[in-house]
Amino acid sequence: MWYRNEEFDSSGLKINPFHTIVSPRPIAWVSTLSEDGIPNLAPYAYFNAVSIDPDMIMISFCNRGQAHVEQFGFELNAPKDTFANISATREFCISMPTYEQAEQVNCTAWNLKPEVSEWIQCEVEMEPSYTIAPPRVKGSPVAIECVVHDLINLPPATPARLTTTLCIGLIKATYIDDQYIVDDRLNLSGVTTIGRLGFVDYCTVGDENIFTLQRPDRYSKRNY
């Protein structure tokens, strides 16, 4: 099947498969503080690393659409709390979620009002970060402390459409639970992480579904 994006409605598909196709996606469990100091925690899956030296990541935020207006009473095109906080304070902490934390991760996707903290609502414990004010999630094996390098507005097709902003973040510091450092390397063996698929689906990444293949030219970044 092939269709131009603007002709999706005549494709016969019920749901746009775009974010099912681009999978599995890593999950950024993003912690921020509002200007008034209210802590926020929410998962985002339009997220990836972009470079090493300096370590940088990208994460994309879409403003609230019609469904959020109708179901939760938000204003159309209002920024989500995470993005509003990042715009104001320029800092955010990304914790790596594990399978054991999946229910809590999902709980923090709740569309709550800005004055309600997901940390309390979803009973997630925090630990202080080292270089930035937003805390990290206690129990996550890894967390990265980020500051905004750039915010790029991605173009709405028409003025009436919703705004999306791509945040490029510079990593200031990394926290790793000491039990996952083996022979001077990060070794997440024993940790089951989770990834995002389409719709309401997630996948797990544990020792049982990892496989290894040497690159054809035996160039390996691991032996840098």
């Binding site: 974010h19 099912t20 196709i21 370590d55 999306t164 510091a173 389409g198 390996s220």
Partner: protein, 216 residues
């Protein structure tokens, strides 16, 4: 353990573990074409950045570094993918399921610019519809993309150039084999650190706490 960025070596960690931490990553198996020459290479610093019209994706590609220099490449030479993306303004993102896994890893080989990985590894290509490019004929899905912007990322004295390519998705190819009742289901291959990959054997479903389903 905690360390400031760039100081992992002082902690005894030989290489920045960032790409072991951000997992599982989706794989963009990117085809580019100039004349009759097709290039094919996998990239995993890749994500959706806008899921409403216009749909957009982003991927990051770095120039060749020290490990490549040891294999005889010029340090900081651009890879073929970014050269061709800049030259033609278009590219196709193909997706990888387990039957395409080995072929995808094959195309990670550092071939010279004169080599077409598609020909070298016998991967069947087909023409895209809207852009002057090829796609992997049997892939579960492909996205036809045009460049919206290419952003230079900051670097240190020792690091190579990195470009973030932002692309507009113009059209979707979806294999009829993965369509069931108007929705798609396919087993994707994800990238982890080192030489590791994963497939999603264990799907877990979570309904959002407020039961708000996106875009249904």
């Amino acid at each position: 353990m905690w360390y400031e960025s760039g100081k992992h070596q002082e902690m005894g960690i030989t290489h920045s573990p960032l790409y072991h931490l951000v997992v599982p990553r989706p794989i963009a198996w990117i085809s580019t074409r100039i004349g009759t020459h097709t290039n094919l290479a996998p990239m995993s610093y890749f994500t959706v950045v806008r899921d409403r019209e216009p749909e957009m994706i982003a991927f990051c590609v770095g120039h060749r570094g020290r490990a490549h220099a040891r294999l005889g490449w010029r340090w900081n030479a651009p890879k073929d993918t970014i050269t061709l993306v800049k030259q033609t303004g278009v590219f196709c993102v193909n997706f990888v399921d387990p039957p395409h896994f080995e072929a995808m890893v094959d195309t990670a080989k550092n071939c010279g610019p004169e080599v077409s990985e598609a020909e070298e590894f016998g991967i069947e290509m087909a023409d895209c519809q809207l852009i002057n490019c090829s796609r992997v004929a049997t892939a579960p899905a492909s996205l036809e993309c045009e460049v919206w912007d290419i952003i230079d990322l900051p670097k240190t004295v020792e690091s190579t150039d990195h470009h973030l390519v932002l692309g507009k998705v113009l059209a979707h190819w979806v294999s009829d084999d993965i369509i069931q009742n108007g929705t798609i289901h396919y087993q994707s291959v994800g990238r982890l650190g080192g030489d590791e990959y994963c497939t999603e054997w264990n799907e877990v479903t979570r309904v959002r706490p407020d039961r708000h389903k996106k875009e249904v």
